[in-house]
């Protein structure tokens, strides 16, 4: 309960940001940070809890983004309905990919490579089908009304994103105290041992895929509505895949607050670098890479391990 209280207090404080931060620039930085915290946590459900490292999480992000965009542009589906469909498509594609890969027992680096390949396949498909706008990309018509999930005020976008992110973090909070969460950790730590005591590892991994894909899909919907433009590189390229796993690993995988910490630290670093180095192109990528190497070397359990040294998790966590 203590953790739930902390979580809600944090999000309440974060909800105040648009009231305090007047500058569009800084509000934008906050949006990017919360966005990272969302996709990092989505990745964390699958990677940190169920132990399946995906290198192609952009796949589900892209599916959600394209779902809302294509349905809106070609079929006139309202983006709020698109939001539900985008999340559902994200989850659906994730389950399909999981079904195909886990069925054949792919684990570890093989699973990582297959997810990477799937994202590439979708990128190429999106590049060559006309209804996704192919290489030119797809543009959502500007109509800044809340009923069209478009807002004049950047703060409203921020709140929409924050609500999605809160849903994701509450899900993980629930996982921490649920049978499904316990089974995910068991599958992560030792699949055979889990199977021996009655855990259906295949089903558990599919459920992790579904949840993870669902929130990536939501993030995709947000992205499409925020920028009103998508192309295959944005949707299925490596940027979101890398960001999702980086944020989770730096913050501490398998923890509730890790991805949030990772997102804050990485964006602080990247903004700091911009200030220090000017707008040297690619400077933030160099920093990300350096931070990742240092984290893996010196703090493999992420920033979250600082708050609870050594004994990691106590008893029933918040029992």
């Amino acid at each position: 309960m203590k953790r739930l209280f902390l979580l809600l207090a944090l999000f309440a404080a974060m909800a105040l940001v648009p009231l305090v931060v007047r500058s569009e620039f800084w509000l934008n930085v906050c949006i990017l940070t919360v966005f990272s915290a969302l996709i990092g946590q989505a990745w964390n459900i699958l990677g940190g809890y169920a132990g399946q490292f995906s290198f192609g999480h952009a796949l589900f992000f892209g599916v959600g983004a394209y779902a809302v965009a294509v349905l809106q542009v070609h079929l006139g589906v309202n983006p709020w309905i698109g939001l539900i469909l985008g999340a559902a498509f994200g989850a659906g594609v994730a389950v399909a990919v999981g079904w195909l890969t886990f069925r054949y027992g792919l684990r570890g680096s093989y699973f990582a490579l297959v997810t990477l390949a799937f994202a590439e396949v979708f990128r190429i498909l999106a590049n060559s089908t006309p209804w996704t706008g192919a290489g030119e990309g797809i543009m959502i018509k500007l109509s800044p009304r809340p009923s069209m999930m478009q807002f004049k005020d950047l703060g409203h976008y921020y709140w929409l994103l924050l609500a999605m992110t809160l849903a994701c973090y509450l899900t993980v909070w629930w996982l921490d105290r649920s049978r499904l969460g316990a089974r995910m950790l068991a599958v992560r730590d030792n699949e055979d041992a889990a199977a021996a005591i009655g855990v259906d590892a295949f089903a558990v991994k599919l459920q992790a895929m579904a949840l993870s894909g669902l929130f990536m899909g939501l993030a995709g919907v947000f992205y499409a509505q925020r920028y009103l433009y998508l192309d295959p590189g944005i949707a299925f390229g490596p940027t979101e895949s890398v960001e999702a796993l980086l944020v989770a690993i730096v913050g501490g995988i398998g923890t509730l607050f890790g991805p949030l910490m990772g997102a804050v630290v990485l964006h602080a670093l990247s903004e700091g670098a911009q200030v220090a180095l000017g707008s040297l192109p690619g400077a933030n990528m160099v920093i990300y890479g350096t931070v990742l190497v240092l984290m893996v070397l010196f703090m493999p359990r992420g920033l979250a391990s600082l708050t609870r040294p050594r004994s990691r998790r106590k008893g029933g966590r918040d029992a």
């Binding site: 316990a182 855990v199 990691r312």
Partner: protein
């Protein structure tokens, strides 16, 4: 309760388990013994679905479970432990055991408190909040048993839960196993520690090079020439008998 008939498994050219049949009676403690490499662990893996047999059948509580997935067999009530312990490292003892308890208990709090009960039964109650990776070998062996026991099994297959323990630790574990049986769980164990087999086992099978070579009460098996030869080499039974005659 458990009916194994004509079970066989070949790895490449090796007949790891060769036409093995045995029956475990409900409420009993029985043992599977034999020299290293005899195929005992493979037999366990075949029974519990970790390997698919090439031939033969496994029936559990009247139901054919041959070649079923391990988790299904565990759900039916037959649960194994691993000779090479497989703790969920990074999780506490309590969390480890709770995964087993979750087989029939959906609620997290209830599963965690069941884990405490089970830990008490196997003597881990004072280490509930210890990381499983920090347990001693004896502790890990107990954790294996506890996790399996938390699933409320009907039949427990224990794979060398006493290997690597010192004599006093073995003396501590024997009553634990007996108490598990007395609580209504049938037990089949693989064991090299003969003291344990003699004290616990009501029925034993001897496996050598994949085949059953003897069965009966453990005490009677100890004198069986085929068993002695399997362990000590050809001709040993005769030589031992001769030695006794000379003395």
């Amino acid at each position: 309760m458990l009916d194994v008939s004509n079970l066989s498994k070949t790895f490449g050219g090796l007949r790891a388990v060769d036409d093995v049949s045995l029956t475990v009676a409900e409420g009993s403690i029985s043992a599977l013994i034999g020299p290293n490499g005899a195929g005992k662990t493979t037999l366990f893996a075949l029974i519990t679905g970790f390997h698919r047999p090439d031939g033969g059948a496994v029936r559990f509580m009247g139901r054919d479970v041959t070649g079923e997935k391990p988790f299904r067999i565990a759900r039916a009530g037959m649960v194994r432990t691993f000779q090479i312990v497989q703790p969920f490292a990074g999780q506490t003892v309590r969390e480890n055991i709770a995964v087993g308890a979750h087989l029939h208990i959906a609620d997290r709090t209830a599963a965690l408190s069941k884990a405490e009960d089970v830990a008490r039964k196997v003597g881990l109650a004072d280490r509930l909040d210890v990381d499983a990776a920090d347990l001693t070998v004896a502790g890990r062996k107990r954790l294996e048993v506890a996790r399996a026991l938390a699933t409320d099994p009907k039949l427990l297959l224990l794979d060398e839960v006493m290997a690597g323990l010192n004599p006093s630790e073995i003396r501590d574990v024997i009553p634990v196993i007996r108490a598990i049986r007395d609580s209504g769980v049938t037990i089949l164990l693989i064991e090299h520690v003969m003291q344990a087999v003699m004290e616990l086992g009501e029925q034993a099978w001897v496996l050598n090079q994949g085949r059953l070579i003897a069965e009966g009460a453990p005490r009677s098996l100890a004198g069986d020439p085929a068993v002695i030869e399997a362990y000590l080499g050809q001709g040993m039974a005769r030589r031992l008998a001769g030695g006794r005659a000379d003395a």
